[in-house]
Subunit: 403 residues, 2 copies
């Protein structure tokens, strides 16, 4: 029997470790591999042979791992370039040395590209004893083919609940006031749209459509006139027709060619104040908390992330299973249900699934019933979170443990 | 039998409505008053006779009210000035008209001053049929005499958990990085200090002591040198020795003579980047969410807030009970326990209880064991939160209901 390796990459989510827990538990339930290695800090750590042994993880640790936010194995933003042959050779050298038959890579867009690139390299070089399997995760919910992405449901639940709570907060005073909630979402509006699940959002601004300042400010004025308040949700990635980000002043670059955004909320605040559409504007930027506030995990999200790990592990027993990503398919019917399936990682890599324009109501007035019906089941239920002295229990990240 | 009135004032908390629920339930368990009126928008609404009848609230609504954040009766920042005799006359006119014997006022510092002022006015004018009882609430935990303030425990629980979660998030990458968590706390460091309950905070900056930029930056450098990371918590109210706020650029005034703060986190970020102490700094301003994220309520906090309402109601059966605030007293012993007691509202009004300087470790290195022992029981436990479709249930604010 050979071994397997599981690693994580990209931005954290509240449930990314549930998929890791699923792979580990899968091998305990049905042993396909001798050793389940964890690779620290994604491909960056694998290149340096930073591996830990996860094979005999206790049931207790496996449970707490599921509620531990942010990659317990560490992450990286290291991009494996197809032109960099040395990196590929080195990775296969490590896989060979540790007799690793299957490498599971949990991540988003870029990670699926890594899975595709490694399996293509193997095929081109006639290598059949090392295989690569992708497991999706991203709070952005912007991966193709899969119905939705593990990590999205929990972020959406935090956002929807925080929207409701801050709306209750801003309404207690009779004064004229706009509240602006800023969410993540570089290119896709899924996170901002999820705030609409609260039922209280007046205006939601998504990155899929060029921002029309005049239309937006007119809607703010109408809301203020009607009820002295306006609750606005804005995605960090909103752009004007010329491609300039609302948050242009703060845009930087993360090395992947992605702009590092933030500040769309304050940009909206300034627009409103400058135009005189309202006298007072408060901004809440949900920032990092929205992707790691695990005390608000969605039960559905944790369960699906865990089962996706189980499914990926089981499928990998098939010696021909490589270059694939395991996704989630929604089963048609009156009751929400999903199945797991596999698709080529290259179908997912380097694409973005936008929030459908036809699900956006005119003039930023929210999202259509189809959107709410799609999102609602994903935030359903609350797992039993284990606490110690009022603070959630967590697994000490493997990359922090002393050798 | 006469009636009573309960109203809320000041900034919201996650559990301010639990005290309201306690007063209402108290009268159902032990009828002291015919009608329990709710006054909308604090004294501002009472001046306009904006009253609702809460007497027969259902058990279901009472339960959901306890988990509904932000004043369900609405709030105000209207300051009752002792010189404004017309306001006093008008309030007593309304109390007389609705046969209100006792007015319960749930709020902070300013609200206790209102309770004191109204009871002084009554005494000075020989009025004995209208009485005034204060119930404390504030996330800031800065009221005198009471051991702690309802609302603080839940905010502290949210802050401590979010600190842990964002710490896990920022650690996944190997790169040099500082994370700055900004909390509320105009004059008192209780909220910022609560982040230390997570056990992960490297540096905490409280408003009680003048900010020493050099010492702080030196500590950041040490942390970066040691582990490439530094987790900083900063209170919005931090000032330099000359009294200037770190967030000076954004300081405004709220009409009470209080500065409206925000931006201390970004100020710290700029200090660090400008000094070269670290190359990358991320800021999370917890903003409004920290005082209303009721899905993270502390069980102890909700229970105490509710019981404080019960206690205030029961005590008010005593015809001499006026101008008093009901507080929480910690009972000595190995197991955390509290009693409720009464103190003159004037003992509390217009004072601030600071975080003890002797509980601060040198060089921003956290807080002493005494502080942790004090705070820890207050964030203990999680109530059963009722959800509908993944979003917490809430009581529609009484001020929003159609007449």
């Amino acid at each position: 029997m050979a071994n397997c390796l599981v690693a994580q990459s990209g931005g954290p989510t509240s449930v990314i470790n549930a998929t890791l827990a699923g792979v580990v538990k899968g091998n305990q339930l049905n042993q396909v591999y001798d050793i389940v290695y964890g690779g620290l800090h994604g491909v960056e750590g694998i290149l340096q042979e930073m591996l830990v042994d996860l094979t005999h993880m206790s049931e207790e640790e496996n449970y707490v791992l599921r509620q531990t936010p942010a990659s317990a194995l560490g992450s990286c933003r290291y991009k494996l370039k197809r032109s960099n042959t040395a990196d590929f050779e080195r990775i296969f050298e490590v896989l060979e040395k540790y007799d690793i038959e299957t490498m599971f890579y949990i991540g988003g867009n870029d990670s699926m590209d890594t899975v595709a690139a490694l399996s293509e390299y193997a095929e081109a070089h006639g290598i059949t004893n090392h295989r690569f399997v992708g497991c999706p995760k991203t709070v952005d919910n912007d991966l193709m083919v899969t119905d939705h992405c593990p990590g999205y449901g929990s972020a959406a639940k935090f956002i929807a609940n925080t929207a409701l709570q801050t709306w209750l907060d801003v309404n207690v005073y009779t004064r004229e006031e706009v509240f602006v909630l800023e969410t993540m979402g570089r290119d896709a509006g899924w996170l901002a749209a999820s705030a609409c699940l609260s039922g209280i959002v007046d205006l939601v601004v998504l990155p899929e459509v060029a921002f029309n300042k005049e239309v937006f400010l007119e809607e703010v004025r109408k809301s203020i006139k009607e009820k002295n308040k306006c609750y606005v949700v804005v995605s960090e990635g909103v752009r004007y027709a010329d491609g300039t980000y609302l948050a242009a002043g703060e845009a930087k670059n993360d090395g992947f060619g992605h702009a590092v955004l933030g500040g769309a909320g304050n940009a909206v605040k300034n627009l409103i104040l400058d135009s005189g559409a309202a006298k007072r504007v408060k901004v809440q930027d949900l920032s990092t908390a929205q992707r790691c506030h695990a005390t608000d995990q969605s039960f559905v999200d944790v369960e699906e992330s865990f089962k996706l790990g189980l499914s990926a592990h089981m499928r990998s027993a098939d010696k021909g299973f490589t270059g694939m990503m395991v996704g989630v398919k929604r089963v048609e019917g009156d009751v929400y249900n999903v199945e797991y399936f596999a698709t080529k990682a290259s179908n997912v890599a380097n694409h973005v699934k936008s929030f459908p324009v036809e699900w956006m109501l005119p003039n930023y007035r929210g999202v259509a019933k189809e959107a709410l019906d799609y999102m609602r089941p994903l935030i359903e239920g609350s797992p039993v979170i284990r606490y110690k002295d009022g603070v959630q229990q967590y697994v000490v990240p493997f990359y922090m443990r002393k050798k």
